[in-house]
């Protein structure tokens, strides 16, 4: 079955043999057993598609019946116009009125909640936090989210942290004694960038009107925060960030 180029006397084979004899720790079984009892199952795609198709059909029939009745009873006269309603996640055409005119992009404003579609977002979905003063990180902001934006974060494995360090000194300093050249972030904080051509509004809006945007080109390496015409690029942290 295997590639004959790997001789069984190959040193690597000894590693595989040792690995094959490794057994999972007992706590792993307990953790999984407990975990699945706290984790709901998602509806399967096939069933979901079937359910949605059925639901859509019912809605369609109801819409035709009700629409026909309303059309028959519609008022006729001047002043009636129609327009396409904007998508719930479409970016606003202009800066929201909630932007403070004299907003200072260098001033940290952590600790408030984000919202989406008019609903407040739990802190474990999206949170803006200030760095601890006692570590000298008071000027740094951390935007924390799950790798699947919109899901509550439950594991450090999935935690994505984006960093606003307006000095870039903290972000470019290594946190790894074994690798002094490794910066803390993937790329630099950019206080003023052009709107990325492929920018997509996530729908998330901070308490003061700041918007969270992403771009296909930047991927998970950076996010974009927009206030009016000001676009900032926040790089992702390259390592888990902790302050003793």
């Amino acid at each position: 079955m295997n590639d004959p180029s790997l001789d069984r006397r190959d040193p690597l084979e000894r590693v595989w043999r040792a690995l094959r004899s490794a057994e999972p720790p007992e706590f792993l079984y307990h953790a999984i057993r407990q975990g699945i009892r706290e984790t709901p199952q998602r509806l399967g795609q096939a069933r979901l598609a079937s359910s949605l198709a059925g639901l859509a059909a019912v809605i369609g029939i109801v819409a035709i019946v009700v629409g026909g009745a309303l059309w028959s009873a519609r008022p006729v006269g001047p002043g009636i116009t129609s327009s396409a309603s904007p998508s719930a996640t479409a970016p606003p055409a202009s800066s929201p009125a909630t932007f403070p005119p004299g907003w200072d992009p260098s001033a940290p404003q952590p600790g408030k909640l984000w919202s989406k579609d008019g609903q407040l977002v739990p802190w474990n979905v999206l949170a803006l936090a200030g760095g601890p003063e006692h570590c000298g990180w008071g000027h740094v902001l951390f935007l924390r989210m799950d790798a699947r934006l919109g899901e509550p974060n439950r594991s450090v494995i999935d935690l994505m942290e984006y960093v606003r360090d307006n000095t870039n000194a903290w972000a470019t300093a290594s946190a790894d004694p074994e690798n002094p050249d490794a910066p803390r972030t993937v790329g630099r904080f950019e206080p003023s960038v052009r709107r990325p051509a492929d920018a997509v509004f996530t729908g998330y809006v901070y308490a003061d009107g700041m918007e969270l945007w992403r771009s296909e080109a930047a991927g998970t390496d950076a996010v974009f925060l927009r206030r009016g015409d000001v676009w900032e690029q926040w790089p992702r942290s390259a390592v888990p960030i902790a302050c003793a």
């Binding site: 079955m1 295997n2 590639d3 180029s5 790997l6 040193p11 690597l12 084979e13 000894r14 590693v15 595989w16 043999r17 040792a18 690995l19 094959r20 004899s21 490794a22 057994e23 999972p24 720790p25 706590f27 792993l28 079984y29 953790a31 999984i32 057993r33 975990g35 699945i36 009892r37 984790t39 709901p40 199952q41 998602r42 509806l43 399967g44 795609q45 096939a46 069933r47 790798a147 594991s155 450090v156 494995i157 999935d158 935690l159 994505m160 790894d176 993937v186 998970t220 390259a238 390592v239 888990p240």
Partner: protein
Amino acid sequence: MKEGTLDLIRRAQQGDHAAFDELVEKYAPDLYRLALAVVGPDAAADVTQDAFLRAWADVRSLRDPDRFGQWLRRILVNRCRDLVRARQRVRILSLDTGAVIGAPTSPDPAAAADQSVDLHRALKAMTLDQRLILALHYLADLPIRDVAQVLAVPEGTAKSRLHSAMQELRRTMGEES
């Protein structure tokens, strides 16, 4: 796949916790060993647990229960990649952790130690993809066709990656001359 296992999978798809518990007992050792080879002893249990919880959450979307094992491995591989992406550095298998992965099998401990150092250096020089493909092929004993499916790459790509991984391994270990 045996009918008993298929029955467990179908019951798990109906939300049967006990059936999934049995699947965990059956598949956890292989998955854990794969994680051990790819992300090392510190993260192997976390990645394995996470893969199973994700599998439980999504098992209803599995259309072909016969592919359960492959599907689980693919979830695990993705979790390993997520881990690397999150931490931007992989903790590779430490050959000094004999207590975790078992005692050395060489009759000559001194020679084994020397080779361990070489192998440690070699694995450290490899990319995540190279380590994954070696582990899937040589540890999980999957044929190239299945390795390609787990990694979601064409079979030809899997073959060339395996070839380059072996070349890299031998080059680093000084076996090419």
